[in-house]
Symmetry: D2
Subunit: 90 residues, 4 copies
């Protein structure tokens, strides 16, 4: 792993009934597609979704995608967790 990279997760909870919210979140994810390794989507109940993105990249880039997602109108809860850096993993 490259030393200046960080790895983390972005957790989002949102109501899929909010108009165009899912499309906005998808558009953001594609703008930053190089930083997003994978996304897991769980249907919590009829209204609410939980999405976890596994992100990897330069710290600034990872924070930027997290901020863009979490600040999207309609996202109820959002949290970035930087779990590790490449340097620590050595």
């Amino acid at each position: 792993m490259i030393v200046d990279q960080v790895v983390g997760t972005v957790t989002l909870v949102y109501d899929h009934h909010v108009r165009l919210l899912n499309e906005k979140l998808t558009a953001i994810q594609h703008d930053f597609h190089r930083a997003i390794l994978s996304t897991l989507h769980v249907h919590l109940d009829h209204d609410n979704c939980l999405e976890v993105l596994v992100v990897r990249g330069k710290s600034a880039e990872v924070r930027k995608v997290a901020d863009a997602l979490i600040s999207t109108k309609g996202v109820k809860h959002g949290r970035l967790t930087i779990t590790t850096s490449g340097a620590e993993l050595k």
Copy 2:
């Protein structure tokens, strides 16, 4: 596990640039949210996404959600795999 249930996966490949496609797929998934345990989304490249849904329910219901997703205009590849039934797992 209930005996008349099946478990399977639905695999979709699509281009996220197709207008409103992601929103359509999300709407279908929420209509059938009881049958979908979890969805994994992987960004293949700048255009293409692969999505795998883990589905569980009565055979007819699982086939219905798979058909709805796979037949959505803009989906390039779709495949339902019924991996097992509750009866077989006993």
Copy 3:
């Protein structure tokens, strides 16, 4: 969603070469299988794995499974994120 439930994620980074570590983590996950909705596993590099578990249940139970996983010898990084409670989502 039941009001006294919490929803969250547990993120783990570990080296899969540590003897029996994966089997220990799997055993813990099955002991608490009712609280774990889904797990996403990403291979970061030849040595390191990142695993994200989506957990739901009573706060005490969710914390118990997170503690058990994070404190397992060989886990390099572990973090529980409680993203939301059922009450907040109403």
Copy 4:
């Protein structure tokens, strides 16, 4: 995407109580870690797990990892689905 690549999924259902089975499957996945983009694990019930691997690579390599996983003793159901090739996605 590179033209001679294929993308697919491998779906496995197995009983986690089978001795060392999970460790064997994990070891295989790490031997082929370059071909595996992500793995989703769902606990179906107290005994059975469903695992879906998103695989990408040369056709021969993808088939090799699928065969190795599906033929592991204790795997109840296994299926490789080649969903697309890079060439088709152009």
